[in-house]
């Protein structure tokens, strides 16, 4: 599998860079010379009788956007959740910034890591869900401040400044005092993205974030994600939006039966489908 994905250069001149760059939280030394932000090695997960993941390998470099596509039930969500350990994988290893997630090594064996250490990893990973999952009892601003104030424990002033910057970036500066149920789905999803960005994550995980939206609201969310990618955010995007995968992702990983069967450059993935299976998948997505 060709893993030598290119890291796009020339993003530094982007005007919005100040908002979104700066992996300010590199408290752990990056392991390995390759400097992958996320690396999955031979990851497996079994739910009862269902093998959700088996032998998954994936490497995502800093600044890269990887789209994960594949049929329903192929394990895309499970893969994403293993990265921040919302799903505890049961074989293989997941590294984020060179740090093993969810386990630590003791005399050559892996033992479950403490809740505290898992949280340390999680706060550097942003996750956006299909159904937004905003805190219903908090305003937009409240949603954005929750993590920075209570998890990162940054000073209120700093958290506020950042929250307003991010809200401007997602175009919702006029909604600070609104409650989630007073917003459209597209607006809620942009707030959810903003909430994750306020944590200054090293990587953002998106799980079909436009699937629950009315068609006319999909565009505004994709636009925000596109901008993020251009600004150099590292992103792993599970999506059914093939045009987004084609235009924005650097690479596409195609999943089937719990594993990544093809991982290649986005352009090649769409122009030269490697297997008949992918061809028919793309045809079904009406884009081949």
């Amino acid at each position: 599998m060709p893993n030598e994905s290119f890291v796009r250069s020339g993003r530094e001149e982007n005007a919005d860079r100040a908002v979104l760059s700066a992996p300010a939280l590199s408290t752990t030394p990056s392991q390995g010379a390759h400097g992958a932000v996320v690396e999955l090695i031979d990851v497996g997960k079994v739910f009862g009788a269902t093998t959700a993941l088996s032998h998954v390998n994936l490497k995502v470099a800093r600044g890269e956007t990887v789209a994960i596509v594949g049929p329903s039930g192929s394990g895309k969500t499970t893969l994403l959740r293993c990265i921040n350990f919302l799903v505890p994988y049961d074989s293989g290893r997941v590294y984020v910034n060179g740090q093993l997630v969810g386990y630590r090594e003791e005399r050559g064996r892996l033992v479950r890591d403490s809740e505290h250490n898992v949280n340390q990893v999680r706060k550097r990973i942003g996750m956006v869900f299909q159904r937004f999952n905003l805190f219903r009892h908090r305003t937009v601003l409240g949603n954005l401040l929750e993590g920075p104030l209570y998890v990162l424990r940054v000073p209120k002033r700093e958290a506020l400044t950042r929250a307003y910057e991010v809200l401007n970036m997602v175009g919702l500066a006029d909604k600070v005092t609104a409650y989630p149920d007073q917003l459209s789905g597209g607006q809620q999803q942009r707030v959810a993205i903003a909430r994750a960005l306020c944590m200054q994550p090293e990587v953002m995980l998106f799980d079909e974030v436009t699937s629950a939206l009315d068609p006319e609201l999909v565009g505004e969310v994709l636009a925000v994600m596109r901008r993020l990618a251009q600004q150099g955010m590292t992103m792993i995007v599970v999506t059914h939006e093939m045009s987004f995968a084609r235009d924005v992702a650097d690479r596409v990983a195609f999943m089937e039966g719990g594993t990544i069967v093809v991982d290649q450059g986005a352009r090649e993935f769409f122009t030269r489908p490697q297997t008949p299976r992918i061809e028919s998948f793309l045809r079904r997505m009406s884009l081949a």
């Binding site: 949280n119 999680r122 805190f135 944590m199």
Partner: protein, 229 residues
């Protein structure tokens, strides 16, 4: 009747205020117990869950009147008979009628509050927890910042009903001589021999208090709700 009302209205009013005060303090204890109990009921540790369920099973089963007798007549004298200094110091405050009533009502109502708050915690979609955990929040931080604040909004109305139940239950405190509304009615009846009038006036007082409370609960509930649209 009118003459009776004119004579005894201030007397009843004081009784009503005492009853309301009893209810407020008991409910404060009840909700505090309910919070701890509910957290116990949803705990990941089986021993803690069992403890919390045990409390609920026992205190929901004991009639409040029996509990009142145990707390007021039973506990302090039991400690005295045992002669254990620590227990005597701990339980002698229960010789105070009002305190004994508050403790008994709070323990009784606490079992119901535990179940109300537990149900409200479990009604919060698990996605809320997931979102919190994905931000790096610990179990307790998630509880404190996300789950409890939302579930208290859900629990508000049923806790309001519980408040009304406790208010009516405070009439039981008359049997240990707390001069709340019911006790006042008994005294008025004894002094005038107008039983029907004396107790009916007390009934009217209760009804009015409950109606006012109900209004307040639904007013606050609207402002406090998770639905803002």
């Amino acid at each position: 009747m009118l003459q009776f009302a004119r004579d005894y209205l201030p007397f009843y009013t004081i009784g009503a205020v005492v009853g309301m005060g009893l209810t407020l303090t008991s409910m404060l204890g009840s909700v505090a117990i309910g919070l701890v109990g509910a957290l116990g009921r949803v705990s990941e540790r089986p021993a803690v869950r069992t403890l919390a369920s045990g409390y609920v099973a026992i205190f929901r089963g004991v009639p409040p009147l029996v509990l009142l007798y145990v707390v007021y007549f039973g506990l302090p004298s039991w400690a005295h008979d045992l002669g254990i200094r620590f227990l005597m110091d701990l339980l002698s405050p229960l010789n105070n009628r009002i305190l004994a009533a508050v403790v008994a009502f709070a323990l009784n109502s606490g079992a119901y509050s535990t179940e109300i708050i537990r149900a409200s915690i479990q009604s919060i979609p698990p996605e809320q927890t997931e979102a919190a955990r994905s931000l790096g929040m610990s179990y307790w931080l998630t509880m404190r910042r996300v789950i409890i604040p939302q579930s208290l909004r859900v629990a508000f109305a049923p806790l309001g009903n519980e408040f009304i139940t406790v208010l009516k239950g405070t009439s039981l405190a008359s049997v240990i001589g707390v001069t709340e509304l019911m006790r006042d009615a008994q005294l008025a009846a004894a002094a005038t021999f107008q039983n029907l009038v004396a107790y009916s006036l007390a009934a009217i007082f209760y009804v009015v208090m409950v109606i006012i409370l109900q209004q307040m609960v639904s007013m606050v509930e609207k402002r406090f709700s998770l639905h803002h649209a």
